[in-house]
């Protein structure tokens, strides 16, 4: 004799967990996109600093624009590797740097929580596979 109430409870809990996992995935994606845009803005700010610096040393380099420098993949890599002090020296406001670092920490935390949910979903998937197989045997 099958415990139908328990079966329903387990199905509900599994569905809720999968829902949480999907939502958290969406949240991480949105947050990562937003952070990506903020990083891009930062790259533009740093690029403007680079352009100013280069033009100060060579006034004939008028054709260089911050946008051009920002599109160079090397600039993004350069900014990625810059310390907070270097960023501030390149024209990024301290509050902007602090905000970015704080949001990076939040993203890492969100990713970790999402991975944890993923691990739980995997456990539940294996478990529910057995549960559904047994339920099918009894309903056949």
């Amino acid at each position: 004799m099958i415990d139908h109430a328990r079966l329903a409870t387990l199905r509900d809990r599994f569905a809720a967990l999968r829902g949480d996992y999907a939502r958290s995935g969406e949240e991480v994606r949105t947050f990562a996109l937003q952070l990506g845009r903020e990083r891009a803005a930062l790259v533009v700010t740093v690029s403007a600093g680079i352009v100013r610096d280069r033009q100060r040393r060579n006034p004939h380099l008028a054709a260089i624009t911050p946008e051009k420098v920002a599109h160079d993949p090397d600039t993004a890599a350069l900014v990625e590797g810059m310390t907070d002090v270097e960023l501030e020296a390149a024209g990024v406001k301290p509050a902007q740097v602090n905000n970015l670092r704080a949001r990076e920490i939040v993203l890492a935390r969100k990713r970790k929580a999402h991975e944890h949910l993923g691990a739980r979903v995997r456990v539940w998937s294996s478990y529910m596979e057995g549960i559904e197989r047994l339920a099918a045997e009894y309903s056949a």
Binding site: M1, I2, D3, R6, L7, T9, L10, R13, R120, R122, V123, W124, S126, Y127, G130, I131, R133, L134, A135, Y138
Partner: protein, 167 residues
């Protein structure tokens, strides 16, 4: 809050017990014979080899007696296989050969004899069911407290679905 922590600890303890029981069951499944049973099989084999060596030599000696030219102690393949056992017994002596094999048998895990093994495997299966049922009861208690505990991926689904399971 203390209740749920205590419940979690109890669930972990039961899961440890289940792991131990499953390990014991796997060991029993992997070793179908006890060391004593393997020793008896080896002793029987040595006796057979001695008899085979004696019989082969006796036949050759009878042929020699009948005036035939017979190369004594010649290795002959049977179906492409040369059984060295009889000749090892003849060369080493039954006692030395038995002692050598027995020393290797001694290195095997103890294991259980067939009847005890079957009995223990049955008991372990029963214990596993009972512990799984106790674990399920604790999971339901945690649900009732509003702090659900995740199941094990490899948990027996019968513990959750079959009414009266493990009783």
């Amino acid at each position: 809050m203390n209740d749920i922590v205590e419940l979690q600890q109890q669930v972990e303890a039961l899961r440890g017990t289940l792991k131990g029981l499953q390990g014991e069951l796997d060991t029993l499944k992997a070793q179908a014979r006890s060391r004593r049973e393997v020793g008896a099989a080896v002793a029987q084999q040595v006796t057979t080899w001695r008899a085979q060596a004696s019989a082969a030599v006796a036949v050759d000696l009878q042929r020699l007696a009948a005036g035939q030219a017979v190369p004594l102690l010649e290795l002959r393949a049977s179906n492409g296989v040369i059984n060295l056992g009889p000749w090892m017994v003849a060369a080493m002596g039954e006692k030395a050969c038995s002692a050598w094999l027995a020393s290797m048998v001694d290195e095997l895990p103890e294991g259980l004899d067939a009847p005890h093994r079957a009995e223990r495997m049955h008991d372990i299966g029963r214990e596993i069911d009972m512990v799984a049922a106790a674990e399920e009861a604790l999971l339901r208690e945690a649900d009732d407290l509003g702090h659900p505990i995740d199941p094990r991926a490899d948990a027996d689904p019968r513990a959750a679905l079959i009414l009266g399971f493990g009783e």
